[in-house]
């Protein structure tokens, strides 16, 4: 028993639990990798929220922390519901034909496996304001397309579209969920004269809630760590990390910059812990409220 588990226990201590505690310790220090860590108490956390006093002078704090938090909340609040709605809608389309479902499912699923770096490069090209096909298409409709990755208002929506391209894994889950709904439930409600919307509202939706719950939790955990697409698209347009005008400066991007560009290891560790706590609190809230709206049973366990 011990023999079987010992490599995992070693790995857990050295690569997970140990580093977790270390990063908690670093979050109370000033550490630039050159001189040894210096204990500064809660100063990193005070700097984060702009409540730091240095040598008797009030310090304005991290000027971009708020921006990074707002951008991250934006991408989750706008992106995640759209992902779920589109995934359910596409999965429902997939339940209609009698043949060819597997072929379509394969095509929808594939982009979610594509490397984020490659996908981001392609989408920066697709969203090119002048030569990109998206604005050319809008031009044919007589719409003057926005500057997308060059406009702080439209850069995040472009990333949402990139995110929707990769909803294949969610589609597969919802399709499996839909195929698990017992036929007789639909027959029963149809006998009572329910229309299509009522069938969705009172049968399909409740039966899908476990999958919605799962994709919500995964979506929030991933959303807080949103990095690859934002980093690659901002650097590819040539205006640097976070550009345009810090509209793509997400929490994890700013954390990465603090740690590995400025080597503010202590401050970055403090940001990481706040990220961790936020993830846990939101997951806990979802778990606690899940009893009210998540229906378990009837084929889904």
């Amino acid at each position: 028993m011990r023999l079987v588990l010992s490599p995992w226990i070693f790995g857990f201590v050295v690569f997970t639990a140990g580093p977790m505690l270390l990063s908690l310790y670093y979050s109370f220090t000033h550490y630039d990798l050159i001189s040894s860590p210096r204990w500064i108490g809660l100063d990193n956390y005070r700097y984060m929220i702009g409540k730091l006093t240095l040598n008797g002078q009030p310090n304005q704090g991290d000027p971009y922390f708020g921006t990074a938090v707002r951008n991250t909340i934006w991408i989750i609040v706008v992106g995640l519901p759209l992902r779920i709605v589109f995934a359910i809608a596409t999965a429902m389309l997939l339940t209609r034909p009698k043949r060819g479902v597997n072929g379509y499912r394969t095509l929808f699923f594939m982009p979610s496996m594509a490397p984020t770096v490659g996908a981001s490069l392609v989408f920066v090209y697709l969203f090119n304001p002048v030569t990109g096909p998206i604005n050319q298409f809008l031009g044919h409709l007589g719409i003057n397309g926005p500057l997308w990755f060059f406009d702080p208002t439209w850069a995040k929506p472009a990333l949402v579209v990139l995110g929707l391209w990769g909803i294949g894994d969610a589609i597969v889950l919802y399709l499996a969920g839909l195929l698990n709904v017992p036929r007789d439930l639909y027959e029963a409600i149809s006998v009572e004269g329910a229309n299509a919307w009522q069938r969705f509202r009172y049968v399909t939706f409740p039966m899908l809630t476990p999958v919605i719950f799962f994709t919500l939790i995964i979506g929030i955990i991933d959303g807080f760590q949103y990095f690859d697409q934002a980093y690659v698209s901002a650097t590819t347009t040539g205006n640097g990390v976070g550009s345009p005008q810090n509209s793509l400066l997400f929490y994890s991007v700013w954390l990465y910059e603090q740690a590995f560009t400025y080597f503010h290891m202590g401050y970055a560790a403090a940001m990481a812990w706040i990220l961790f706590i936020a993830t846990m609190v939101l997951t806990a809230i979802l778990l606690l409220t899940s009893r009210r709206w998540v229906h378990y049973g009837g084929g889904l366990s």
Binding site: F10, G11, M113, A114, F224, T235
Partner: protein
């Protein structure tokens, strides 16, 4: 009636073909741009005129693609071997052996799934750069080692997926060998592994593709050493460092994505079953 059913099928398939076209459009567009001339790639027209197949050769001349491919393959291949070897026994212990505290420890495994990479990546970077380096005398930063070594000590998602599958194997099958006096190693080797092949293949493929695509890890550890970089990091700076030409950027992106696309189409059933296993039956 039959006519109505036929029209309905036509309507369903038209909608689905339209949606499929939307999903495939970026990849098709990427391919066509990759074989356009420099000038044409700036016009935004889609059909290559002429087809410039030599763009791929230009990319290979421009950057050391073979080296990046090899580095990416090493990272993906070795970490996959590590994850499979380390997670199968642990998943077995969590599904087939009864021991005190099993459920609590399993919850601990699950909770590490919630732990943001950022929390551990900062101290781990410091450990690899300082302590681990001083204790062993080995240079870790700028090499693939910090990316590969941890996978030999278990991975929470893989343990979870394998455990879910092992639980579906009937207990009678394993009990039979236990009654005959066989040890856990025999049960694992003769019953669990042969029966769980689909799940093990799924774990291996998920890890291979995860590592192949991984950007954050290689960016943290390899950005300082160009010779050790994987394709994801090399590609992310390709456009700004080497070329402003979009056709070459798309050709490079295609070289990077092609192995993933091929593996996906060869083994798509495995991926779909793996996703369904972890998501719905959780």
């Amino acid at each position: 009636m039959r006519r109505k059913r036929f029209l309905l099928a036509v309507a369903n398939h038209s909608v689905l073909i339209g949606v499929s076209a939307l999903f495939m459009f970026p990849i098709i567009y990427m391919f066509f741009t990759a074989v356009q001339s420099n000038d044409q790639a700036l016009t935004g027209s889609i059909w290559p005129h002429p087809f410039v197949w030599s763009n791929f050769k230009t990319v290979f001349d421009e950057i050391n693609v073979w080296r990046y491919l090899w580095n990416t393959f090493l990272y993906a291949g070795l970490s996959t071997v590590g994850v499979v070897c380390s997670c199968v026994p642990v998943a077995y212990a969590f599904s087939r052996i009864d021991w005190r505290g099993r459920n609590i420890v399993f919850l601990l495994v699950l909770s590490t799934l919630m732990l943001p990479t950022q929390v551990t990546s900062i101290p781990l970077y410091i450990l690899w750069a300082k302590q681990f380096h001083e204790w062993t005398g080995i240079q870790f930063i700028g090499t693939l080692k910090p990316l590969i070594i941890p996978s030999f000590f278990g991975d929470a998602f893989s343990i979870f997926l394998l455990r879910q599958f092992f639980l579906t194997i009937p207990k009678e099958l394993t009990d039979a060998i236990r009654v005959d006096g066989g040890g856990h190693l025999q049960v694992l080797w003769r019953v669990i592994i042969p029966l769980a092949k689909p799940a093990i293949v799924a774990v291996a493929l998920f890890n291979f593709i995860y590592a192949w695509n991984d950007f954050y890890g290689p960016l943290v550890y390899l950005a300082s050493n160009q010779d050790a970089q994987t394709l994801s990091v090399a590609l992310s700076s390709f456009r700004s460092l080497h070329h402003v030409d979009w056709n070459l950027t798309m050709a490079a992106a295609l070289i990077f994505m092609l192995p993933v696309i091929v593996i996906f189409f060869l083994a798509q059933r495995v991926f779909i079953e793996g996703i369904t296993l972890t998501g719905v039956k959780g």
